[in-house]
């Protein structure tokens, strides 16, 4: 599904140049659950941003289902994010002014789904995430675990092929963290490809394969399944 070859990303200020990704190469097959691990500053989040088409690489190739997407324009990237990719963040990143229902509904609005259809889809997803009873609450009224379940619901509501998770349990206690990991595992078993950045060895064990990074490059790969 994903093939990255010689990917480069350099951050430049007036005085300092930081190489975040140093000719990194990797592949992810469809249906895989891959964990990316490494110390702070090794380039994990940068890699995830490029995979999610939130950022441009400075060099290298990024093939998504055989199509080069590295230098897609903003409109095409937006289309991909709408239809193909779902995101789950460490700090949940829900919109505080919208209710749970409205947060989950938002991707459907951007993909142009009619109002009558949206209701059915959102309710199904909320039910699946066991957060239906809180649909009219605002994010600040929910616990961390509940917020992350809402974030997962929002990520899956458009049936994306790929989910990118950036330390999804980083702000959660162990019980809630395990619940969220189980949700991701269930999604993966239903066919969704998952690439997860994590510091947690415990969370990484839910994946099929662990890729370890250092200084912008992959150093090892451990296959678990």
């Amino acid at each position: 599904m994903i093939k990255i070859t010689g990917l480069e990303k350099i951050y430049r200020t007036e005085e300092v140049e930081t190489i975040a990704l140093n000719k990194l190469s990797m592949e992810v097959k469809e249906g895989e659950f891959v964990a990316v691990m490494g110390p702070s500053g090794c380039g994990k989040s940068t890699l995830l941003n490029i995979l999610g088409l939130l950022d441009d690489p400075d060099g290298g190739s990024f093939l998504f289902n055989g199509i080069e997407v590295a230098h897609y324009n903003e409109r095409k990237r937006s289309e991909m994010r709408k239809h193909v990719i779902g995101f789950v963040f460490q700090s949940f990143n829900l919109i505080d002014e919208l209710t749970v229902y409205e947060n989950v509904e938002l991707p459907l609005i951007y993909t142009g789904v009619k109002s009558s259809e949206r209701k059915a889809i959102v309710e199904k997803v909320l039910d699946k995430m066991q957060i239906m009873h809180r649909r009219n609450h605002f994010p600040q009224q929910l616990s961390g675990g509940q917020q992350q379940r809402v974030a997962v619901a929002r990520a899956v509501v458009n049936n994306p092929k790929l989910i990118l998770a950036d330390e999804p349990t980083g702000n959660l206690d162990s019980i809630n963290g395990t619940e969220v990991m189980q949700l991701l595992t269930d999604l993966n078993e239903q066919g969704t490809t998952i690439i997860m950045v994590t510091h947690s060895e415990h969370d990484a064990k839910f994946s099929h394969r662990i890729i370890r990074m250092l200084d912008g490059q992959t150093v090892t790969e451990n296959i678990l399944i």
Partner: protein, 785 residues
């Protein structure tokens, strides 16, 4: 999607009350000001639109050139209207009219002065007088007939069903009411409550049959699509054909231009009149709106970090930049709409006071298409202008950066915000400086030596037999002990309107024509008005002794250039007149122009006005009551009415007063809106620099040091705006003042004082937030971080 935006907007308002209050309040002030000004502008632009024929209506102007300078008057000869109709093709009809006369009407025990005109019958159709009883065809079939307004009918009869009833005019003659017309709207150049046939006026003033006297108004209605240039050709010399000595050249002037133009340069060319005010106030309306929109932009971009996360999330889940732009502009249009609703309420609340200020009767009609469209347009324009920059700025955030809580680089945005503050404060400083200078010019006019004493001086029209009983009235008035002196004359000292060029003197070039104001006076006139004689004497009490003597003013003395002016001869036509005195120049018509040459002659045949000088320090109410008793005793049957000359003088500054008041109010509002914005920006900056302030305090910074640090950044743009505003304000005021012959000098200290004032206001605005931030507990600040 729109309902999504609506929800976000309302929830944002509730979550961020201070910010939204500042935004909405600023927009409300801006929209309210713009709405009030545009109502005023609409009224001015609609002046005379009541008359359906206005595109074919003209007033005949009379141009006279003396010493290379052309003056333009509305006064035309009596026979002109008939001659135009008879001799010039393309004319549908003509009508003569007087200027507007206060005449006494009586019915039963009700004597009241009402204002109206003597007009030819053609006037009724030309101006589509809106009859509700009677009609134009039958209105003047009888000679002693009068048509009255609804208001006048109700005043006298309590009904409009009054055809055939009679009103006594001037206690002398009964007139039959042959028509009642609907009350005329306020915004008309000519107003009247009654109309009587011009034949009556002509019968009382036989000199109207002469071509040499320019004294009445001539209106012309052309055929539709008539060639006005072709009409003006024969019209130009129509007077000279009959009276070669009459300098007056005639031309048609469009009735449509009377209100907003009707002003002429020294070559007699049409130039801008009140239209300048219309343009000025329209510009001010836009400036105030833009200042309010700038506030919105600045506050929205300053708060951008608070919405950065939302922008990032929306982009992550698939929103395009265009979609986000639409969202943010929709939000600002919604805020603008809320502001508009509040502004409507405030406009309705303040409209009576505004009407009082501008002396109009403006109304806001929400369901009138133009008003509704105007309000919607203002809302949309404000919302789109105000929301555009923040929308483009916010929608350009990189989601990868903002979701990692990376600080948004605000370099260019901060610079733009500062420039917007510069624009706001520059506009405010310009408005304040202009207000001060306009006020100074008004005061200059009001306080200059008028050449006569206007205080405690009243005038009353000579009614009934007051003229013939003048000496008795004078003695009785002085006998009350409250009156110093009494005189009669043709007109009010501030509006001496009669003039002629029919004078010659030794040494005057044959081809030189000098237009001289002439005024018939009684012997007490100079002392009653408080004028000063430079040379010679006033007229004797026995006016007949001075029947061939004249008094001239300083201006005429300078023109004649005779060192022995007193005793010299000036020929008035064929009559030899001896100069017995020279009076110091005095103001008439315009306090900002030098006096016109003037001759006063000892004859009260044409006197219309009595001037009464009350003693200084008398109780005015008591004094007026005593004056009234004397006048009524000597002239029963006529209600007593009077006017203070200083009030008439005050009216001369009507246009300048209006500009000064409105400029002052809008300058204050502009500063308030600008300071609201500055307050908001200071608040957000203080919040953003919480950590820095905490660290500085721990390291030993004082409250005053931190206050200075935070304030400095805001005072620099204000200082820059002051520097930019100075030359612009100077240029504007020099341009405005050039229309005045007597004018103030613009002093540097006005600019310095205004600049200092604005800096202090800005300092006070930001220091509140700066001091609050500087006094906060540093531990608390850092714990938050």
């Amino acid at each position: 999607m729109f309902s999504n935006y609506l929800k976000i907007t309302f929830r944002n308002i509730l979550r961020n009350k201070t910010y939204n209050f500042l935004n909405i309040f600023g927009l409300v002030i801006g929209i309210t000001c713009a709405a009030l000004i545009l109502l005023w502008v609409e009224d001015e632009l609609n002046y005379d639109h009541f008359f359906p024929n206005r595109n074919n209506l003209y007033i005949v102007k009379d141009k006279q050139t003396y010493e290379g300078k052309t003056s333009v008057f509305d006064a035309t000869p009596g026979p002109l209207a008939q001659a135009i109709k008879a001799e010039i093709p393309g004319i549908k009809t003509t009508a003569r009219s007087t200027w507007g006369d206060d005449v006494l009407f009586s019915f039963a025990d009700k004597p009241i002065y009402e204002n109206g005109r003597y007009v030819d019958a053609g006037f009724l159709n030309m101006f589509s007088v809106p009859f509700i009883k009677g009609n134009a065809a039958t209105a003047f079939t009888q000679l002693h007939a009068v048509v009255v307004s609804e208001k006048m009918a109700m005043k006298f009869f309590g009904s409009t069903d009054i055809l055939g009833k009679t009103l006594k005019v001037d206690n002398k003659q009964d007139y039959v009411v042959t028509g009642v017309f609907k009350d005329l709207p306020e915004n008309l150049s000519l107003k009247f409550d009654w109309l009587i046939s011009f034949k009556i006026y002509e019968g009382q003033n036989q000199w109207l049959t002469q071509w040499r006297n320019n004294a009445i108004i001539t209106y012309v209605e052309t055929e539709p699509r008539a060639n006005v240039a072709a009409i003006n050709k024969p019209l130009y010399g129509i007077v000279q054909k009959r009276n070669p000595e009459n300098n007056a050249k005639m031309m048609l002037y469009p009735f449509n231009r009377i209100r907003l133009y009707n002003s002429f340069d020294d070559n007699g060319n049409d130039k801008d009149g009140l239209i300048k005010n219309v343009r000025l106030f329209s510009l001010i309306a836009w400036i105030i709106l833009i200042i309010a929109c700038i506030n919105f932009m600045n506050l929205a971009t300053a708060r951008s970090e608070k919405r950065a996360k939302e922008v990032g999330i929306r982009k992550v889940v698939g929103a395009t930049k265009q979609r986000l732009i639409v969202q943010f502009i929709s939000e600002s249009v919604l805020l603008s709409f809320i502001s508009m609703l509040l502004a409507i309420a405030i406009v309705l609340l303040v409209l009576p006071a505004f009407n009082n200020l501008v002396n109009k009767n403006l109304t806001l009609q929400l369901f009138q298409p133009l008003h509704l469209a105007g309000l919607i347009a203002i809302t949309l324009v404000c919302g789109i202008i105000a929301g555009s920059y923040p929308a483009f700025y916010l929608s350009s955030f990189n989601p990868a950066h903002v979701l990692k809580s990376a600080k948004i680089k605000t370099g260019s945005a901060a610079f733009i915000r500062k420039m917007l503050v510069v624009i706001q404060f520059s506009a405010s400083v310009i408005l304040i400086i202009c207000t001060v200078i306009i006020y100074q010019q008004i005061q200059y006019g009001k306080e200059k030596d008028l050449g006569f004493k206007k205080d405690n001086l009243i005038t009353t029209w000579l009614r009934g037999d007051m003229k013939t009983h003048f000496t008795a009235i004078k003695n009785d008035l002085i006998g009350t002990g409250v009156v110093e002196n009494v005189s009669i004359s043709n007109s009010n000292v501030l509006s001496m309107g009669s003039n002629t060029s029919d004078f010659t003197w030794e040494g005057k070039a044959r081809d030189k024509q000098v237009l001289i104001t002439i005024e018939g006076i009684s012997s007490e006139y100079i002392s009653t008005q408080g004028m000063q004689l430079k040379q010679g004497r006033a007229f004797y009490e026995n006016l007949k002794a001075d029947s061939n003597n004249i008094i001239i003013n300083e201006t005429l003395e300078k023109i004649i250039k005779n060192k022995n002016i007193v005793g010299s001869i000036i020929n008035w036509g064929n009559r030899k007149c001896t100069v017995v005195g020279v009076v110091k120049d005095f103001v008439s018509f315009n306090a900002y122009k030098p006096a016109d040459p003037l001759i006063m002659y000892a004859n009260t045949y044409n006197a219309n006005l009595m001037s009464i000088r009350l003693k200084a320090n008398v109780n005015l109410t008591t004094a007026l009551s005593q004056v009234e008793k004397v006048i009524k005793a000597n002239n029963p049957g006529y209600p007593f009415s009077y006017e203070f000359v200083d009030k008439v003088f005050g009216r001369m500054f009507k246009a300048e007063n209006l500009i000064a008041k409105l400029a002052g109010i809008f300058a204050a509002l502009a500063i308030i809106i600008s300071c609201l914005g500055l307050f908001g920006l200071a608040s957000f900056t203080a919040e953003k620099r919480t950590k820095e302030i905490g660290i500085r305090k721990i390291l030993g910074a004082s409250v005053s040091g931190i206050t200075g640090l935070l304030s400095k950044d805001f005072l620099k743009p204000v200082l820059l705006s002051v520097v930019i505003a100075f030359p612009v304000a100077w240029w504007l005021m020099m341009t405005w003042l050039k229309d005045y012959e007597y004018k103030i000098s613009i002093h540097w200290w006005v600019f310095a004082l205004v600049g200092l004032l604005v800096l202090l206001i800005a300092l006070a605005t930001v220091s509140f937030q700066a001091i609050k931030a500087a006094r906060a507990n540093p531990v608390k600040n850092l714990r938050t971080e």
